[in-house]
């Protein structure tokens, strides 16, 4: 990508040069819809309120029974395996873009969780975890009285 600087006079039109740089860049990053960095697997979204949090993770093709979900204090850990497509003799792979293999990922929340009341559901390859806070640790509303 990088080449030593050359005076514009030697390469001709500076605008053409600029266009060249632009097209080189587009080719280098073209076709990428998402952030260039490969995100950790699985990707997650997290929501929270005073009662607790909800975590969703995209785990398409993973058997729900094969998912190992662990909750310890303020951390949720997801473990599982994505099986590759079984290949028969003579099969030809033209594209292999999907990630396969074992994965493990943890997410730490800003509060402790109640492992006993965690609920998990799985729908169309998306895992949803409801993670409530322990009753005793939820924020209390304090009434202010005039002295």
């Amino acid at each position: 990508m990088l080449s030593p600087y050359q005076a514009p006079t030697r390469r001709g039109n500076p605008f053409a040069q600029m266009r060249q740089v632009q097209s080189d860049l587009s080719r280098a990053i073209g076709g990428l819809r998402f952030a260039p960095a490969i995100p950790e697997y699985p990707v997650m979204n997290v929501w929270a309120n005073a009662e607790g949090a909800v975590l969703t993770a995209e785990v398409p093709g993973v058997e729900p029974d094969a998912l190992d979900i662990a909750v310890h204090q303020d951390t949720v850990t997801l473990r599982g395996t994505r099986e590759p497509e079984p290949l028969a003799e003579g099969d030809v792979v033209h594209r292999a873009e999907r990630t396969t293999g074992a994965f493990a990922r943890s997410f730490t929340l800003p509060f402790r969780l109640d492992p006993e009341s965690v609920k998990a559901s799985f729908r169309q390859g998306v895992l949803t975890l409801e993670l409530p806070r322990p009753e005793a640790e939820r924020p209390r509303r304090i009434k202010v009285q005039r002295a």
């Binding site: 819809r33 979204n45 997290v46 398409p60 030809v92 792979v93 999907r98 998306v126």
Partner: protein
């Protein structure tokens, strides 16, 4: 040898734009050639089966599906790595495919499309009449 050319970038323009909600997502795809068919495996997590559309026209296989929002009510987002949107991808299939028998199955966020190869018709012999 099969040639599957990805036409994904072209979906940025066109009339599909007006119907789409949210960003366009490019589903990662595996393509495996079996003896009698091509198998395409696409990751479409959260895709709504009702919005799934697989069509094959003039050698172009188009796949689109809308993802269902997982946002819970009464919560505020604190961290996000993925968005809801429309999965869209097009493939140019240069091989002879039996377009009437394409099979698509959606399960656990994975779409599997089977494209049976067309059985080649036997070469025709043309008899030459002698004058």
């Amino acid at each position: 040898m099969a040639e599957f050319t990805d036409n994904g970038q072209d979906t940025m323009s066109g009339d599909a734009e007006s119907m789409r909600t949210g960003p366009s997502l490019l589903p990662p795809t595996d393509i495996i050639e079996r003896q009698d068919a091509f198998l395409m495996v696409l990751d479409v997590p959260g895709a709504d089966p009702d919005t799934l559309d697989v069509s094959f026209d003039q050698g172009i296989l188009s796949i689109s599906a809308q993802s269902v929002s997982t946002a819970p009510e009464g919560y505020a987002p604190i961290y996000a790595e993925y968005r809801d949107g429309t999965f869209e991808r097009k493939f140019i299939v240069s091989d002879r495919i039996d377009g009437n028998n394409i099979d698509a199955v959606l399960r656990d966020g994975v779409l599997r499309v089977t494209l049976p190869k067309q059985v080649p018709s036997p070469a025709k012999k043309i008899s030459v009449k002698l004058n």
